[in-house]
């Protein structure tokens, strides 16, 4: 039946009609290669980005795909939240720019990685977690189950009541007990 439908539509198509181009044009993406970009930080701890010699002051660097990492693009936003440039391959920036940018991104995405779950107790829909992270022991509360996000690759991202973030890189890397506690909670 499916093939029938296909045949009939292709037969009805006017012969002079041009099929649309494959995908969207590449310049729509508007990424800038690292050789045109320099990143610096000034005395007032503001992040500045220079694209083709033009400087934009006090910008914020954010990742386009902070969680999935589908592409390593970094977006620079000005104070109004408007993008000034979208940088591709930030790892190919010059050394100093790379250092500044990495520090800024590190700062932007402060996420403690959960290594072990000691306990999860749930009362009245609020779950209290006690965990060991790469930054030390932490106890936090999750009020909404929507804030436990399951990402591909047995990865989890949690946000506590205040919005602080915790990550489980790979569920399988944790010990049996932690895994079992997690499985009951997700």
């Amino acid at each position: 039946m499916v093939t029938d439908g296909k045949d009939s539509t292709s037969a009805e198509r006017p012969q002079n009609a041009q099929p649309p181009e494959e995908g969207l044009p590449a310049d729509m993406v508007g990424v800038v290669e690292p050789d045109r970009v320099r990143v610096s930080e000034d005395e007032l701890r503001r992040l500045n980005v220079t694209v083709d010699g033009q400087e934009h002051q006090d910008v914020r660097a954010v990742r386009a795909f902070p969680l999935s990492g589908k592409a390593d693009y970094v977006s620079f936003l000005n104070e109004q939240g408007k993008e000034v440039t979208l940088l591709a391959h930030p790892s190919k920036l010059d050394k100093e720019s790379r250092r500044v940018l990495n520090a800024a991104l590190e700062r932007m995405y402060y996420v403690a990685r959960i290594l072990q779950i000691f306990s999860i107790r749930e009362t009245m829909g609020i779950s209290q977690w006690e965990v060991m992270t790469d930054r030390g022991y932490a106890a936090f509360e999750v009020v909404n189950r929507e804030r436990i996000r399951r990402l591909p690759g047995r990865r989890y991202l949690l946000a506590d009541v205040d919005g602080n973030r915790f990550e489980i890189r790979d569920e399988a890397q944790m010990d049996e007990r932690s895994r079992s506690l997690l499985a009951s909670e997700t």
């Binding site: 007032l44 909404n144 205040d162």
Partner: protein, 753 residues
């Protein structure tokens, strides 16, 4: 607690732990007083660890513990005279306090979002102090205005709350869930007692047959006693008839009780849900709420009707049988007890394991129904992108997850019950062998053995279920908690605060430094101040996400401002009687919701007792009368679940008629004409113009032409009020508004061309 001598009057109370107070006392100079404090919980090396930032009337400094007990170092210090400003740098997972001064910016502290409010308080205080310093005022006597906001943590125990300003489930006077549940049964206690009595009667009758069997064997068959046989037969008949009768009555009484209590709870829950503030619904999935009203409640019904009594009855049965058997043959009974510990322990262990699994299953079920509530309403999008297969795959993945867990539970329980059967079997083997030996050696009569076998079966069953009491109770208690959680969620202020009744309202609205955010730390409205005179029409303009809808939601009091306040005719909106206030507010939304019912009932939703003339007048004012009259059943036409049989413009006009009928003092038009074509818009527009007259109106519109009647335009951008004035003034100033106008007139030229 801080030393009160360190505080100037009116300063926000700064309370720190005792050891920190010790460090602080050491660091403070004579007469220096603390105005704000911030706990930083991230060290410069990004690991968790604390530091304390203090703002005093002289300086800003940071105390960090240096590892030695009772000691802390001043790791940063800057005199107030040198500070130019301070701000909070917000990142995704944490924030930093940045202070500028001496031509440089200094990162004073880093902290998780838990301290975000303290940090913005500190900046707030710092700003006021810098201002006072520049104006040459004394900083010591400065009265800081503490920002006011709602807590998302309990003020008593510090535990997280599900929603800002919610009741803390740990701190309210919460009776044990079970007691609370039974309190719903209390009004029907006589029914409950009757049911209980019938149940006990039935249990008693159930215990009779094994004893009669003993009599039959020992005293009738072995004693060759024909007259006694008649008695035994009659008694057996009586027992069975009695059981049938009692069971009929019991079943009805218990079902009545369960349904009755469920009915009470269900009605209570629904009316409570109606009273919950909108913010509750923003954070809960509708599917989840609905499953609580249906699923959890029916589990409670089972508990009330059967579970609670079963537990009691089982206990009584076990005790009664134990008594009977002890009287008949103590030694044999003790032998039969041998498997009991194994049964009890294994049931308990099994119960725990299965509870964990059930919890998982329950979560997976929620995920399955979440997909349903997500996909079914979005079916048009699914179909238009031909993603039916993908959605099916997604559903089947989630279902498979559920299936896996259910299989695990099945494996556990399939293994367990046969094991229990084996244990019970073991008990009867013991009794048969020992009892058989006793009968053969003449230590007891054969009837006793027969009765024993009958009783032991009746004994092990309640023992098993006693082993599961804990688990079953827990199962019901989680359901009960979920139900009570809804009942405990704080309802809108209207129900427990009778406020000031302003009737009629004049409609003067004043916003003073209003801040509001849907998420902690992110303001959807940031420091908005605005005064609107009665009868004035305000057009709200700005890009999407600017906070326009948030602003009108605050005015409609769907939410309450976190900081600052809203005054209606000079009174704080929070002091007003919500009901009376809402009755004087009319809201027309972009996507009007029409209930299932007639055109009439939908218009009259605003005023149930409206007369036919009033309804028609309202419909005429909304330009709705003509099309309504043309409907097959006129005003009595039934419109579908979401008004499917009407066009968008027609539905919108009905919702305007609804608002007209209400005759509100304050009118809110939230994109009322956004989703209709130009011609319909014109018709709605004229209807709205009639409606707007002499009412304080807040109108949100993307099409700026809609706002040509507005007295003033308020331009919002990213939560802040950036421009205000008439159309001409704003055009002249050449700001955001003039840009928006330019873009739209360019667009309309394109269209015209």
């Amino acid at each position: 607690m801080s030393d009160p001598t360190n505080l100037a009057e009116g300063a926000p109370a700064v309370s720190v732990p005792e050891d920190v107070q010790g460090w602080l006392d050491e660091a403070l100079e004579e007469g220096e007083c603390v105005r704000a404090c911030l706990l930083g919980d991230i060290r410069p090396d990004e690991s968790f660890g604390e530091s304390w930032t203090f703002l005093t009337d002289r300086r800003l400094f940071v105390l960090s513990p240096n590892g030695r007990p009772d000691e802390a170092d001043v790791t940063f210090e800057m005199p107030l005279a040198e500070i130019d400003g301070g701000r909070v740098h917000e990142y995704v997972g944490a924030s930093a306090l940045i202070v500028t001064g001496r031509g440089k910016a200094h990162e004073v502290a880093r902290f998780s979002l838990s301290s975000h409010h303290e940090a913005s308080d500190l900046c707030h205080s710092l700003k006021q102090m810098i201002q006072a310093r520049d104006e040459g005022k004394s900083l010591h006597d400065l009265v800081l205005i503490p920002p006011r906001r709602m807590a998302h943590r309990c003020s008593q125990c510090g535990r997280a709350l599900r929603r800002s300003g919610d009741v803390c489930p740990h701190c309210i006077d919460r009776r044990q869930t079970l007691v609370r549940l039974l309190s719903y049964v209390y009004p029907y206690r006589w029914h409950a007692l009757l049911g209980l009595g019938l149940t006990f009667g039935m249990t008693g009758l159930q215990l009779a047959p094994p004893y009669l069997q003993k009599v039959l064997l020992d005293d009738v068959i072995l004693a060759d006693n024909l007259p006694l046989l008649k008695v035994v037969v009659l008694m057996l008949a009586g027992v069975y008839v009695g059981q049938a009768v009692l069971s009929t009555f019991r079943s009805y009484v218990m079902q009545w009780l369960g349904n009755r209590v469920l009915f009470d709870l269900r009605v209570r829950m629904f009316s409570h849900l109606q009273m919950l503030p909108l913010s509750y619904y923003n954070r809960q999935q509708t599917g989840q709420i609905m499953s609580r009203v249906t699923g959890d409640l029916s589990r409670l019904q089972f508990f009330i009707a059967e579970g609670a009594q079963e537990i009691l009855v089982n206990l009584v049965t076990v005790l009664l049988i134990a008594g009977i058997l002890l009287l008949m043959k103590p030694s044999l009974f003790l032998l039969g007890l041998a498997p009991v510990p194994i049964i009890l322990i294994s049931t308990f262990v099994f119960g725990r394991a299965v509870h964990l699994l059930y919890h998982r299953i329950w979560r997976r079920m929620a995920s399955v129904s979440a997909i349903l509530t997500d996909t079914i309403p979005g079916i048009r999008v699914v179909k238009s992108f031909a993603q039916e297969k993908r959605e099916s795959a997604r559903f089947s993945r989630t279902s498979e997850d559920l299936f896996d867990q259910q299989l695990r539970a099945a494996r556990l329980s399939s293994g367990f019950f046969p094991f229990l059967g084996l244990m019970t079997g073991l008990g009867s083997i013991l009794i048969v062998s020992a009892g058989g030996y006793m009968v053969l050696t003449g230590q007891t009569q054969p009837g006793v053995l027969i009765a024993f076998m009958g009783y032991m079966w009746r004994f092990y069953m309640p023992v098993q279920s006693i082993g599961r009491i804990n688990h079953r109770l827990q199962h019901c208690m989680t359901s009960a908690e979920r139900v009570f959680e809804i009942l405990d969620s704080e309802i809108e202020p209207v129900a427990h605060r009778s406020g000031l009744v302003l009737e009629p309202m004049r409609g003067k609205v004043k916003l003073e430094n209003v801040k509001f955010g849907y998420e902690p730390g992110k303001y959807a409205l940031d420091d908005v101040s605005l005064t609107v005179e009665p009868g004035e029409m305000i057009g709200l303009v700005g890009p999407s996400g600017a906070g326009k809808s948030t602003l009108v939601h605050l005015i409609a009091r769907f939410y309450e401002a976190e900081e600052g306040r809203i005054l209606i005719d000079g009174h704080n909106i929070e002091d007003l009687d919500l009901r009376s206030y809402r009755e004087q507010i009319g809201v027309v939304l972009q996507d009007p919701y029409l209930f299932h019912g007639t055109v009439w009932s939908n218009i009259a939703y605003a005023k149930l007792e409206a007369s036919a003339d009033e309804i028609i007048a309202a419909a005429r004012a909304a330009n709705a009368h003509d099309f309504v009259a043309a409907l097959p059943d006129g005003y009595d036409t039934v419109i579908g679940e979401r008004g499917q049989t009407l066009s968008g413009g027609e539905r919108q006009r009905l919702s305007i008629a609804r608002a007209v009928l209400r005759n509100p003092r304050i009118l809110i038009l939230d994109e009322a004409t956004a989703s209709v074509d130009a011609e319909t818009e014109l018709s709605i527009q004229t209807a709205l113009e009639r409606l707007v007259e002499n009412r304080t109106t807040f109108a949100i519109a993307h099409r700026l032409s809609t706002l040509r009647k507005a007295n003033r335009l308020v331009v919002l951008e990213r939560g802040k009020l950036v421009e205000m004035g008439t159309h001409e003034e704003l055009l002249e100033s050449g700001g955001l508004y003039s840009r928006l106008v330019q873009i739209q007139s360019d667009l309309s030229k394109i269209k015209a061309w």
